[in-house]
Assembly symmetry: C2
């Protein structure tokens, strides 16, 4: 009925051995029933779990196995960036169809690439059979100064890192049967968890933050709802991936760029420190009675949004 | 091609709202990009992830949705018992096929039952579409005295909690198309994470521990490999689920009972404190050159094992 297999003892341990061989010193303390981790004094644990599922989040034809492993791990690590937490490690829950067994090492290399980029470690995991490839990643981090999504205050400026629209353009191309251009494909396949950037921003005065997984409009809406405010975006200010319109950029998901709110941030110092742009794209405003959390202007004139984002609280 | 769906924003948040309503005060701090948790001073974090997948770990026809949610969560919590850690919380990564959407609340109730039994909380999670129901559970715990699987020492006595063979008997009945008897079905559907028992055992002198997920022989093999010893089991001593033979009990998986090693434990004090039996079933011995980690006797005579368990290290 399905492509799923029962991974017998031997098979499962063969896979674990292959992954551990590829990870080398990037895997730590594997082999007991659970990982044990000591936090630094004063640090709070920050923990999140995020799953990437074949046919839901990606298709095999779009990406190499290594890119799929990298992207799934980076997407989860991005939740640590959203909180301005330093990574402590990841746990990998792999649901493996038989048809993916021959590339499990490449998937593991991709996980390793993401681990390297975030300067962290694999601390544990679980492998089972599955019908569709499922990469569940639990990320553990620590911070003594978390960046919450509920910290936006009226009159704050709203900033985004990097440029927006590349992943959406790549996805749109694949979905209409085209090949995306190389730059858009790279933004989809090789997102970066903005961890160092988030820590810089939190130290530099940011008091609310969220990462862009659902799209700028949706995630600004989550931040507005959590903070009890409205966010007004100036669409003409959005930093655009080449060839993308402001409205496309505003709904492009899986960017893993950051939205932060602050009274003011030193944009040029950020760019010097991180080699990434930081752009003021809007302002935090009084909430309005019907509960719409995000409104937009284009060149100073009210602009209708194609998708409405409401409070979820 | 598959039963999978894309959970749109609205759909996903509807499900989250339904789960949060059912969990009530058993869910804490949900709604930011990640959960924040403060550990007690001196405590180490203990963390593990475990996935239960339809068609791999269970079939829908065997169990109610509530039992499926309970069992998946309890299986993960059992890894905290194996380390003698106190639960701090769980993260739930749910892969939901369309055909399970109408019973997601019942799955959630089962998760809640397991949370209640372990006196812990849901601290976060993730919901995606999937072809087969996938319940990924990350468990977080704390301890200042972890019970490791590598602590077994030569001449220690090997003990198991409870009785063995019920889950294997239930599984065998389902697999041959029969209905399991009620007691065996209950042992499969309602395992208990032996957390309080593990903490009692660690305080009472146990110096190595593991939970039985793969079966007594396999898990004793893991413990022997990690400890660099051999474990000799006396099959006639095994505490048996009614109607099960010692050899069936020795390979019955998903028991979630504990194996511990200690110079000596007060079996009757354990039974008084926990209302559960503790049985001496073997002894820790010198390793033998070919690396077989578990050997067995029956009434004092060497007994061949039907499956060989070797060192994985």
């Amino acid at each position: 009925m399905t492509d799923s297999i029962e991974l017998g003892d031997g098979r499962e341990f063969d896979i674990i051995r292959e992954l551990l061989a590829r990870w080398g010193p990037r895997a730590l303390g594997i082999g007991d029933d659970a990982a044990m981790i000591r936090l630094a004094a004063g640090e709070q644990l920050v923990v999140s779990t995020d799953s990437s599922v074949e046919h839901i989040h990606f298709e095999r034809a779009w990406l190499t196995p290594r890119e799929i492993g990298y992207r799934a791990t980076t997407a989860a690590l991005s939740d640590l960036a959203a909180m301005a937490a330093s990574p402590i490690g990841v746990l990998l829950a792999l649901g493996l169809p038989k048809s993916w067994l021959d590339v499990v090492g490449e998937l593991g290399d991709g996980v390793g690439d993401a681990i390297d980029a975030a300067e962290t470690l694999v601390r544990g995991g679980d492998i089972t059979g599955a019908s569709d490839l499922t990469i569940g990643v639990t990320v553990l981090g620590g911070t003594d100064a978390p960046l919450r999504r509920n910290g936006a205050r009226i009159a704050d400026t709203v900033y985004v890192t990097g440029s927006l629209g590349g992943p959406g353009a790549a996805l749109a191309a694949w979905q209409r049967g085209d090949v995306p251009d190389a730059a858009a494909r790279t933004r989809f396949a090789h997102p970066v968890a903005r961890i160092r950037e988030a820590i810089w921003l939190a130290r530099g005065g940011a008091r609310a933050g969220i990462d862009i997984s659902d799209g700028l409009l949706a995630d600004a809406g989550h931040m507005a709802a959590a903070s009890g405010v409205r966010i007004q975006l100036d669409l003409e200010q959005l930093p655009l991936h080449e060839g993308v319109t402001p409205r496309e950029a505003a709904v492009s998901g899986e960017e893993y760029e950051l939205i932060v709110c602050a009274p003011a941030l030193n944009v040029s110092a950020f760019a010097r420190a991180t080699k990434l742009s930081l752009t003021a794209v809007g302002r935090v405003m009084d909430p309005i009675p019907d509960g719409i959390g995000v409104t937009a202007r284009m060149n100073g004139e009210p602009a209708a949004l194609t998708r409405g984002f409401r409070h979820f609280a």
